[in-house]
Amino acid sequence: MKINIKYFGQIAEVTNRDSEIIEVSAKTISELTDWIYLKFPDLKNKDFQVAQNQELVSIETKITGNEIALLPPFSGG
């Protein structure tokens, strides 16, 4: 499954890119984040939420969309 994964703020600083298209067999967000931790071990120390198709989701959520974003704590305003 091809996923467009987006990184923001301090997460993008760790991954050294804003986005990438990845091919994974992960069925859930949890499986996807495990895969991401293998690629970017330093993310284990970072606090982030995951959005699927622009909605925040829990780690048990099934992957149904093709746009996943890793979002560090919000700090607007």
Binding site: K6, F8, G9, Q10, A51, Q54, E55, A69, L71, P72, P73, F74, S75, G76, G77
Partner: protein
Amino acid sequence: MEHKKIKSVFKQGAISSEFIGESIAKHQSKTSIGAHNIFLGQVRADVINNKTISAIEYTAYEDMANIKFHDIREAAFEKFDLTCMHIYHSLGIVKAGEICLFVFVSAPRRKVVFKALEFIVEAIKADVPVFGKEIFEDDTHQWKTNT
């Protein structure tokens, strides 16, 4: 329910006092309004470990952020008797002392605008994926956290 097009609330760079003044002036034809309330978020030159913040660089997950701003707007109109409301948030570099958030609510009566403005600003801080990189005078940085 009428479908409203989702607008972008983002502006590149600081929000100028001229823009804010013009926004206020545009409401003079709306004579059912009895009260306005305005929130201006301004970049603070905090000093952390003897280093002073000179600017904040804002980035956002823009597609999701604009949906969230739209949801906050809909919720505010549902909850409060507002005549109109406007939200503008900066992207990119905003220097210390400059304005990065402008929220403007208007209603027939004053008590409504006090409550509505607090609701909207707190919702923006909690729910909208905007990220602030605090840049120090020596070009090092840290990531802003909302308190």
